[in-house]
């Protein structure tokens, strides 16, 4: 029971807290002002001196313990394991673990029971050893802190130092997340590019991962696998849908921003702004549902009525709805940018006798251009990374076409299709998803960095 041990540790440290606090009171006696730190800090210091090493040790110990158990299983039952495939091995170990902790496994046989008994035995031994070390450690730490409670002891400093460290750790989590993303993507992608050549992937014209040869000996004919992982149709599809989306979002979003910031009355703005915000708050899965249920059939019906052959999962439908989704994004970014243009410029233009629209088109927009460009870049990066709308409304077929009435597929759709469902994790198919993810990550990252740079330069200009 690893959690019980932690609970006991917690209770012990709490008791230590009160003990240390009352000792601090006792040390101070009547001269409470003489105490460098208030008693509560002495208590907190003692608690933390017990908890921090304790928890660190226990985490390490658990890590070692798991390694220990899996090492014992693989050495004791190497014969059984070697006869199984990889997923079967995982299943075997999972069943053994469940049995050992008293659960019910689906398929039970003699070996598994013996293994489970062994695991349970090792576990109880580990708990005993680890628990004793933990107890000893806590007592030593407690003694260390407790005996140091004096008038001069700077308990508050130490406690605050620790809080500071915890704050730093929290702010570093963001960096760790990025590292985690980059790590997992690159790690799996490298494995993928070990099977499929990078150039074939990046410049191949044919994408049909479902026909990738899997199973025994797949490495031997990986040359064939290379042919089915050509990502160009995905990039083309992504571009097509993004383009359609921007055709909708850019003019509508920009014009609404202009209208709301320069023309609309206070009352109109008070209604229109929340409408745009609601549009921004609708989950993408709802847009996807809307696209599949309403927009796609409507476009199809309209196309058929004028004699066009429209696919039921046309790029147009997905792009259109994605455009709607991005409108509020474009409009709020453009709004910021337009408002950042100093009033003096507008006044100057109006003073020459220009009309409002002339001022906007000839003065405000050119001045705001860098900002607007970066807003559009951010919108494009949004569209490229958007998943649910295309998963639900765009197709799966990797057609290389620029006809918006045909079905195309995108990078994100393929990531989802490759990874949803029960798949063997090591196959080229699942690894391909990570390679696509890597490319997606870097494209959006590049777009964001460029956009943020541009916007920063632009801000500096007017600040």
């Amino acid at each position: 029971m690893p959690s019980t041990a932690l609970f006991v540790l917690l209770v012990f440290s709490l008791i230590a807290f009160f003990a240390a606090r009352s000792k601090a009171f006792a040390v101070a006696g009547d001269h409470i002002g003489e105490l460098h730190s208030r008693p509560i800090y002495h208590g907190a210091y003692t608690t933390l001196t017990i908890l921090v090493p304790g928890i660190i040790f226990w985490l390490l110990w658990n890590f070692i313990a798991t390694r220990w158990i899996s090492a014992s299983i693989s050495s004791q039952f190497s014969e059984t394991l070697s006869s199984l495939t990889l997923p079967q091995q995982e299943g075997f170990i999972r069943d053994v673990m469940t049995l050992a902790s008293g659960g019910v496994a689906t398929f039970v046989d003699e070996t598994k029971i013996t293994a489970a008994q062994m695991v349970a035995e090792i576990r109880s031994r580990q708990l005993w050893i680890g628990g004793s070390i933990l107890a000893a450690l806590s007592v030593v730490c407690c003694w260390f802190a407790y005996t140091r409670i004096t008038l001069k002891m700077r308990a508050r400093h130490r406690v605050e130092q620790l809080i500071r460290i915890m704050l730093i750790v929290c702010s570093v989590v963001a960096i760790l997340t990025t590292l985690g993303i980059v790590f997992s993507l690159i790690f799996e992608s490298v494995r993928f590019f070990g099977r499929v050549s990078f150039l074939d992937f990046l410049f191949g014209l044919h994408w049909s991962p479902q026909s990738a040869f899997e199973g025994a000996g797949s490495e031997a004919i990986s040359a064939d696998n290379s042919k089915v992982f050509g990502a160009i149709p995905l990039f083309a599809g992504t571009l097509l849908i993004t383009f359609i989306a921007m055709c909708v979002a850019a003019p509508v979003g920009l014009m609404s921003a202009i209208y709301l910031s320069d023309y609309a009355s206070q009352g109109f703005r008070r209604i229109a702004k929340p409408v745009l915000e609601v549009l921004a708050g609708v989950p993408t899965v709802v847009y996807g549902f809307f696209a599949a249920l309403t927009v796609a059939p409507a476009i199809r019906g309209w196309g058929e009525s004028i004699g066009l052959d429209v696919s039921s999962e046309s790029a147009l439908a997905a792009g259109l709805v994605m455009g709607i989704m991005i409108i509020p994004f474009v409009s709020s970014l453009s709004d910021d940018v337009i408002n950042a243009v100093p009033q003096s410029l507008r006044d100057g233009s109006a003073g020459l006798g220009a009309t409002k629209s002339e001022t906007i088109r000839k003065v405000v927009l050119p001045a705001a251009l860098p900002g607007i460009v970066s807003a559009m870049l951010l919108a494009v990066s949004r569209a490229v990374g958007e998943t649910m709308i295309v998963v639900m409304a765009a197709g799966l077929a990797a057609n290389l076409t620029i006809n918006p009435l045909e079905a195309v597929t995108t990078v994100t759709v393929q990531i989802v299709t490759l990874l949803v469902g029960d798949q063997e994790f090591d196959s080229a198919k699942t690894l391909a998803a990570f390679a696509l993810g890597l490319i997606l990550f870097f494209i959006t990252l590049a777009l964001n960095i460029v956009a943020l740079r541009v916007v920063q330069k632009y801000r500096e200009q007017y600040d």
Partner: protein, 268 residues
């Protein structure tokens, strides 16, 4: 000018016991820019010392050195020596928290916490553990508010937010808050600059009363105020102390021509 400094030092060493804070060669740098240039000043106990000078002359900067408020600014660096009762306040063994309990501060704009009047005053004693129990804390609060001359006005509404008081009352609340941790020195950074003349008069009167118990250093841009409330005056100019001495003397008989032209309104 060197002779002047020497004079001060000679004078100071003569009356060692009669000096509360002693500043030697205090220089302050913001990044590469020097804001204060080797300032020497002795602050006498239970007196009001006024720091005057044109804006940007470093008087506020100097004041903030006295309780190490400059520590909060990353790029700020202080050199030299500042002694409080012969203890170097920049010594690593000194805890700024303890220092600021001994050297309290009142700021230019009244800045009560958005909490009740009671909580505003009680906060300091509470974090320093100055009271054992609620009753004692209430006593401290009452005493501090009385000393700050605010008690009669707020005793019935201690639970109301301090931000609801008038500007002058807020500033006296901030003074009460500073008093509550029983400091020895109180630093005031233009405490009346945000107040109207009537509130200013009340606060000035209060400062005069506080002199009985505390050593007060006040930065002011108003020479009349300096003349009204202070016993000692130091004139700052471009990061240097030009002249120090008793207020009467500086105002009636300034030695340095710069002081004279400032007092008569030619620079400022």
């Amino acid at each position: 000018m060197d002779t002047l400094v020497d004079n001060i030092i000679a004078e100071a060493s003569g009356k060692e016991a009669n000096i509360k804070m002693r500043c030697r060669d205090v220089s302050v740098f913001y990044a590469e820019k020097q804001a204060l240039n080797e300032v020497n000043l002795d602050i006498k106990p239970k007196q009001v010392t006024a720091l005057i000078g044109p804006s940007g002359c470093g008087k506020s900067t100097f004041l903030r050195c006295l309780n190490r408020m400059n520590d909060t600014i990353d790029i700020c660096r202080v050199t030299g020596e500042i002694l409080l009762d012969n203890e170097d306040i920049y010594d690593p063994s000194i805890d700024v928290v303890d220092l600021r309990a001994d050297v309290g501060m009142v700021f230019q704009k009244p800045n009560p916490f958005p909490k009740s009047i009671y909580e505003n005053v009680a906060y300091g004693p509470r974090i320093h553990g100055l009271a054992r129990g609620k009753a004692e804390l209430t006593q401290i609060v009452e005493k501090s508010l009385k000393r700050a001359g605010l008690w009669e006005e707020v005793k019935d509404r201690l639970d109301e937010p301090g931000t609801g008081l008038s500007g002058g009352q807020q500033q006296r609340l901030c003074i009460a808050r500073a008093i509550a941790v029983s400091p020895e020195v109180i630093l005031m950074d233009e405490p009346c600059s945000a107040l109207d003349p009537i509130a200013t008069a009340v606060v000035e009167e209060l400062i005069d009363e506080l002199r009985q118990n505390y050593t007060i250093v006040i930065v002011t841009h108003s020479m009349q105020q300096a003349a009204r409330v202070s016993q000692e005056t130091a004139f700052f100019h471009l990061g240097n102390i030009v002249e120090t001495g008793s207020t009467d003397e500086i105002f009636t008989n300034p030695k340095d021509p710069r002081t004279e032209s400032y007092i008569t309104g030619r620079i400022g």
